[in-house]
Subunit: 203 residues, 3 copies
């Protein structure tokens, strides 16, 4: 089992938890929560694979991806009482998810021969589109539009991956460094309330 | 003409009606209603075919699918006054739509060699994604997230199809049994107010 | 460089501006605006290409499409103060975008051997889906559902393209005539407050 594969399963698991919990305050049922967890977990990767024309899609060719989703949804259901109290936990799961999916998306795009700009975008897409779907379904302004370092952290990590790759840093090491960079940027930005200026904030 | 084909046309027709009527209370025009009818009718199948990499998409390769959509939208427009009064009618059209699309989705996924778990998901997807698109466009909480037996009914029918298939029940019979099962489960659940517990409803 | 190609770049540029500005009043940051600009600009074309199974997608195979998006987003950011004041400007950018994308979508669908009905739909899709995504993300009722000549203008232009094509009008001339027709219909409809009746407006 390659590192990429294991990371994809872990990222999927985290995203499924975050998706299942997202609709907890909406009037919803267990199945609705599972469905949102599923869409959140596979949304970004599915879009990435459709855009790159990579078939079969990861979750179709490999049942373990689905099992990761089921595990995530189950975790959300069983440990609901504990997990939901800790808003920080939810934040953490989402952060782990986007960090892993960004670097995996970049890597996959490069593998399919995409140019650097496209690889960066595919990384961001894989990471954030699951959350965009989750937020759209639960009628929340997508986190990507909120004044918070989010997709920008993904972009930094994607570019870091590309640069380290040019310097022939070993693939697995690069995956871990760049994913950690994304998580750190996001966590530090939230901790120290750093954010990007709003459009039209200067005159 | 195969049974599957006829059922797909009928399901498309029902979904188009339900989609066109969905936006009736929003400030919209005839074209907006037609467009929503169209997206609702072809949304689930398009997503299914994109995910399975089945080209050309059903509605591109076969004009009769488009004619079904047109017929559904026209029905909605012409009989609007009668149809909209009967909330039950709308509910019925939607129920017919999801019942047919679930079993057709399962069948198509199996035909493309998908494993059982994926086939169940593809069945649910084909059935509910059109409605998710419809509800998202008209700014309603997607029915799939509401506390109502909906996607769960689809799941029951999808699993029923797989089981009967293992026991070599004839295909066309299986299509009809499993689709009827979905419709019955949904209708009975609504009639007797059965629903799944919400996430975190136990302590 | 073909006319089609140049028009696609220009349409992309206009859509990126309109997308980036759309979220200006939501609490959002620069990156959110860029992302919405990006999705708006490439959304319709991406969907068109996925549906037609045309790979690589335009913006993946050709970096200039991405540069058009970047240029549009930059324009929105730098000239924000001026541009946002002029609601008419935003309307104009959107109108230019849909006019160009409609005829390009029709043309591409015909090139892929789609029947006429499908070509019309693909034209409308390419034109309006970027805006639908933009409006859904910023929690606005999609313009296509509002009582305003919008997708109907696209339909008129798409049909005009098909008819002129049957009469062997030269391709580039046809592109320009039909795109201008769309823009004129929309502008005149808004100017003289012409709109389609709402569903169920007659008894």
């Amino acid at each position: 089992m390659s590192t990429q594969y294991v990371l994809e399963l872990i990222g999927t698991y985290f995203f499924a938890i975050s998706g299942a919990l997202a609709v907890a305050d909406v009037e919803n049922d267990l199945f609705g929560a599972s469905f949102t967890g599923f869409l959140t977990a596979i949304g970004g990767g599915t879009l990435r694979d459709l855009i790159l024309d990579s078939h079969p899609l990861v979750w179709i060719g490999d049942p373990y991806v689905l099992y990761s989703v089921f595990a995530g949804v189950l975790t959300a259901i069983i440990f609901f009482k504990w997990v939901i109290k800790l808003k920080k936990t939810l934040f953490l799961f989402d952060t782990m998810g986007i960090s892993l999916f960004t670097v995996l998306g970049v890597e996959k795009a490069l593998y399919f021969g995409a140019p650097d700009e496209v690889a960066v975008i595919m990384g961001i897409f894989s990471a954030v589109m699951g959350g965009v779907i989750r937020d759209t379904l639960s009628n929340v302004t997508p986190v990507i539009l909120r004044k918070e370092i989010y997709a920008s952290a993904c972009m930094i990590g994607a570019i870091s991956y590309l640069i380290l790759n040019k310097f022939h840093v070993e693939r697995e090491l690069n995956l871990i460094i760049s994913a950690s960079l994304i998580a750190s940027v996001r966590v530090l930005a939230v901790r120290y309330k750093v954010y990007l200026p709003a459009l039209g904030s200067w005159r």
